[in-house]
Symmetry: C2
Subunit: 264 residues, 2 copies
């Protein structure tokens, strides 16, 4: 496999993906550009899902929505094709994972509406620039994620609990972490909860429901952000008969700069 370093721009990486020259997770690629979660589902379910996202903007920050059947995200990457330019896809039927594939050309339908949702990579870049440690990146792990007892606001068939990601932050830097991530409402924004995990139904911050446990150092506080796993799990549990998503970690690389998403 070739090294990521030879591709610098989102378009170059996406072209390599399209040509099957690239098949690995995308974190760290195309620094400065926003990566996005993909949820593609039939038009019949698109209104309720869009309204679910609007009602729950922190876990479901919408970056772009395509016209039915159109694989081109005109706002997020107007030259791209969502059917071929993610390294890996997951295909779900009736809420069950059917397969993982490298393109979805043969699965595409004229009624598919694609949602691109913001991803925490953007605000993690901002945290690091602000001198705030991002422990799971330091330790080469996946971010720890927890299912909370906070219900999302429902919309039609879409409902379920908020899933959060957790990052340990030194007590003196917690306020700064709030300030930095508040600037990125399009990618989960400010924390939803700080300290006191038990109050949101989290028994043990060292036993995540998804992802990996990370080290806590003395004097660090658990800080919880709304997580993009929320819409994924809500869609899986909704009875939507056919859904295509990115495979975890294999994101869509947009043409949007992180700094564009930082505008208030």
């Amino acid at each position: 496999m070739e090294h990521g370093g030879q591709w610098s721009s989102p378009a170059e990486i996406r072209a390599a993906v399209r040509k099957r020259e690239f098949d690995r997770p995308t974190p760290g690629l195309a620094p400065g550009y926003a990566q996005a979660n993909l949820v593609a589902l039939p038009r019949k379910f698109a209104y309720d899902f869009l309204l679910f996202c609007m009602r729950n903007p922190k876990p479901c920050p919408v970056l772009d929505v395509t016209a039915p059947g159109d694989p081109v995200p005109l706002f997020a990457a107007p030259q791209a094709d969502l059917r071929t330019e993610l390294p890996r896809y997951r295909v779900y039927r009736e809420g069950t994972l059917e397969k993982e594939v490298t393109d979805v050309l043969d699965l595409w339908r004229e009624d598919m509406v694609s949602f691109l949702l913001g991803c925490s990579f953007t605000f993690e870049e901002a945290l690091v620039k602000a001198g705030i440690p991002v422990r799971h990146v330091e330790e080469g792990m996946n971010v720890p994620m927890f299912v909370t007892n906070i219900p999302c606001r429902p919309s039609g068939v879409f409902s379920g609990p908020l899933v959060v990601s957790m990052r340990p932050v030194p007590a003196a830097l917690v306020a700064r972490a709030v300030q930095v991530t508040s600037r990125y409402p399009a990618v989960h924004g400010a924390p939803v909860h700080i300290g006191e995990p038990g109050l949101v139904g989290i028994r043990d911050v060292n036993c995540p429901d998804y992802g990996d446990a990370v080290t806590f150092y003395p004097g660090e506080v658990p800080v919880f952000w709304a997580c993009g796993v929320t819409p994924q799990s809500v869609v899986m549990n909704s009875g939507t008969p056919f859904v295509i998503t990115h495979a975890p970690g294999y994101m869509f690389i947009t043409a949007l700069r992180n700094e564009e998403l930082g505008a208030l």
Copy 2:
């Protein structure tokens, strides 16, 4: 007519409206609570309109969307009825104003979806608190509004130019005005343009397309914010066969505090 001062809470004002004890514009009522624009249209058009709002969040900040046929805005005012608790409504058929009425009980349909959109009263309260003059309020006028040459991002049948409101701000306070209104993304947020009206297609800041001209003092800069007239005019021009809106100035008073909308 009784005086507004006797009603302090949003629920009391809405009860007075419902009982027909109140029939006048709402600016200045229920200080501290957000007032909202109403756009109610058939479910058939709701997805495209919601997506239009999502694609144009500055002119179309969505505070709440009801279930089809349900007159209760569960998020913005869970005890209210949108069919009777606005002082005046406008009814449009095929894009033409049919009539202005004080309730829409007999016009309601099982497929009506109501959108409540944020209104600039909220950020004007914040500007005044920050010591920034709001000229049209000082002068007892309607805010001056202009149709720009900036196209909104279209969605289905909904498209059209961005309409902006203009407030003259002393040059030394322009940055502060940006900071203050940036805190309110749910009510139009930061300005879309500052100075140089000609660059967005405005020939003369003293000749507004809607509302009233206001006084400019020496050393003041025209500051332009996205305006809630944008979605109104877009809906009127969309060919949507049946639309109910508030009458200009006769807004819906929500149970949401302005400060809740100020959270980043």
